[in-house]
Symmetry: C2
Subunit: 525 residues, 2 copies
Amino acid sequence: MITGQNYIGNQPSSEGSTILKAYNPADGSEFPESFTEATSDEVNAAVKKAESVFGAYKAISYEQRAQFLEAIADEIMALGDALLERASGESGLPTGRFQGERGRTCNQLKMFAGVIRDGSWLDVNIDTAILDRVPIPKQDLRKMQIPIGPVAVFGASNFPLAFSTAGGDTASALAAGNPVIVKGHEAHLGTNELVTQAVLKAAEKTGMPYGVFSMVNGGISVGQQLVKHPKIKAVGFTGSLGGGRAIFDLANQRPEPIPVYAEMGSTNPSFLMPEKLASDPEGLGTTFANSVALGVGQFCTSPGLLIGVKSDALNQFTETLSKTLAEASPATMLNEKIATSYYRHRGALIEQTGVEALGDTENAGDNKGKPLTAKVNGQSFLNNPKLHEEIFGPFTMVVECANTSEMTAVANSLEGQLTGTMVASENDIKANPEVAEALGQKVGRLLFNGVPTGVEVCHSMQHGGPYPASTDARTTSVGTAAISRFVRPISYQSWPDDLLPEPLKNSNPLGIWRVVNGERTKDTI
Amino acid sequence: MITGQNYIGNQPSSEGSTILKAYNPADGSEFPESFTEATSDEVNAAVKKAESVFGAYKAISYEQRAQFLEAIADEIMALGDALLERASGESGLPTGRFQGERGRTCNQLKMFAGVIRDGSWLDVNIDTAILDRVPIPKQDLRKMQIPIGPVAVFGASNFPLAFSTAGGDTASALAAGNPVIVKGHEAHLGTNELVTQAVLKAAEKTGMPYGVFSMVNGGISVGQQLVKHPKIKAVGFTGSLGGGRAIFDLANQRPEPIPVYAEMGSTNPSFLMPEKLASDPEGLGTTFANSVALGVGQFCTSPGLLIGVKSDALNQFTETLSKTLAEASPATMLNEKIATSYYRHRGALIEQTGVEALGDTENAGDNKGKPLTAKVNGQSFLNNPKLHEEIFGPFTMVVECANTSEMTAVANSLEGQLTGTMVASENDIKANPEVAEALGQKVGRLLFNGVPTGVEVCHSMQHGGPYPASTDARTTSVGTAAISRFVRPISYQSWPDDLLPEPLKNSNPLGIWRVVNGERTKDTI
């Protein structure tokens, strides 16, 4: 079933000579298939095909578009255990994890089908004419969101299903009415092809034009060609800061710059406020250790910084945390590159002045990530920007502050984050309002207790934050609002009703919420 | 009353030694005041002051913020005729024009006061907890928009009031809760200072923290310093493609890139469809001539391209158009630089292969812009990208196509535009749906007849379009939606009700529309 080919629309294609192989990070073994990197001509053909069917795809009814997304979910389920096993084999993560991630992926697709039908994403605003207004008549103006054109999506290594081939970026771009070209992630080539086939099968079953979805394999040069292609109108990416920034820069240097939605992770600071910490330092230590170790620390929202005030409670917390993490078994990381990078960056960090490693710092070998806790005082942290960088993997650092003022200084010194957590009682917040206030300025999601891992897919989720957490803090890559990344508004002025698009017609045939002359309503006009 | 100073918050300041002078373009005369370019220290002080009061400003109630904007409108009115006369003197435009523009400016400020009170801009989404959900509990998540921090606004030469000191960018940024630093436009230094004083007076009267608004005079280096300053979080700009792109590039090259909302104009193509054109070629010729000449062609939406099919009707249209424009009196342009640029760019264009000037091509002198019509055939237009560039001033070009297919090709060949107009009967649209379809992909506002000049300030306006019309086609610089440029979403997870911001509390104390568990409602929870 896995052919190793690229898919230009529904057409398998492998004209190139560069071969990519898939590996199992658990034992370093190679999968049998040979994947062919897409040639420049193939990338070009995929984009041209996407562009050529853009008009046809966006003209398809919203209902049919919703059914297409639902069909993708069905076809992914129809891949059965083969998908779970392949994803597990290519990532080192257990199949149980992929049962959950597959569910999330399919739910996302179905959620966007619901978003399409609900119609709120069209953000319809209508101001009717006042032709006898003086000194000048008021013209009829009707605004809605429309798709923008072919979107390039880069798969993410840490979510081979939910943030990759048919993940959130693809689902939201398709939902908005844009053709998608996926650059499959090199670390899960087989998983990517299986899901690609599911998407193409769904497209065929629901009568979508071929070219609405294409997939190309390849490395940096394939990615660059996609980002620079004049017919690509936006990019979705989840991955490292280096990769995301490179894509962002390339996209902005184009003659016609395009938006890049790169979600690049963060250290997800948690502020352990005195009263709350003192109430259960050991329980909190265990809770955070579990969150740090979850998925071998390979979540964008893994808690990498734990900031508290020097105290017995913080000592107890740190002891439980570091002990629990030291005792946790090393586990296979996503791939060799990520395992190597984890130990290299972690090593460079714990060599910094004032940083103390609380546990064994050896490389566990075999691409396994060994959890580790480190500790530093507030002043050293404030003085050294290197300590503010994300370490991707099961690592966390306790920052011991002299007092809550220093905690505020730490919060103010941070770069942008996906999440920030106040581990606090209500009294803690009221006694030190400036800590949460400062943290709120830095994050996309602000938690009151709990741990940042676990990203609910819903209307109210904000997954994205000030740079470098993401390149566009105005948007989210998780939840219904993600669709707004791939649309733009257009105003129709003085159009006859029968020539207007459905969402703007007087009769409101879609029955959607609209703002008419400033009032929100589902009424007809 | 005009001092020539910069304003660091409410503090006049002129520490520099570079002097700028204001000129009357009508006769080249110099105004008596000497304006001091802000020094690097002064720019820095203005941004620091803005940053230091950001917390205080955003903590002020929405109602007070709305009153601040209304007070600005009142204080602008209180400047009386002195403002109109100064604006006229510095721009060459008649005082009557500024009566209208002042009204528009004040209405914009009041409209944003209304936007603040309405609360829809907060885009509140609430998903309540389901703590007994299996396998994992659903946490309470509540999302709203928050301000982003100090915003730099560049005044526009062609709207000294409505798109400058207290224009749309400033009004929307302040409405969203951000301090603003204006770089006054060098072409209307006095107007800028008068309006600055009005804003500061309003801030004082309504108890806003000093620093919520600052104004610095200067040229490119002052602008660059603002854009590069790490505490500036977004930029608003209206002006040339060169200026806008330079700011955009600088902002994206920052360690922390920031959004730039540059509205850079366009050629605003109008497609003259056969049936409609034949019905009244001369009337349409007059209508478009008036639109081209309006404000000496210095509107972002001036119709610079008129595309039709070779026919008697097009000949009649062109003759009326060119004759009307040839007979129009030359009028003073905004400043010497713009007048010089008009003739230079227009001259370069009419020298291109296949372009025929239909009238006198001489420079009218005295900074006066003389209207001109040119003509070219569709093939020459398609072959030469130079003909696609905007000429800022009272110039328009008729593109004579062989047939409607060539019109579609022209529409497809265009760059992004603020507006596109279908001069058409309903039959024309139905007979050639691909023309409007292609045009819709290129524009922010799609008109059915009428002329593109005249930009209504309302909910449904889209003033912005695909690049190079603007650097961010997802947003508008006119109308209520402009506020969304200066906010970003934050999600509160599991916060106790009494610690939540007002818009997110169960009791919905602001009485605003919210989406609660997917349903739009004003109800309490």
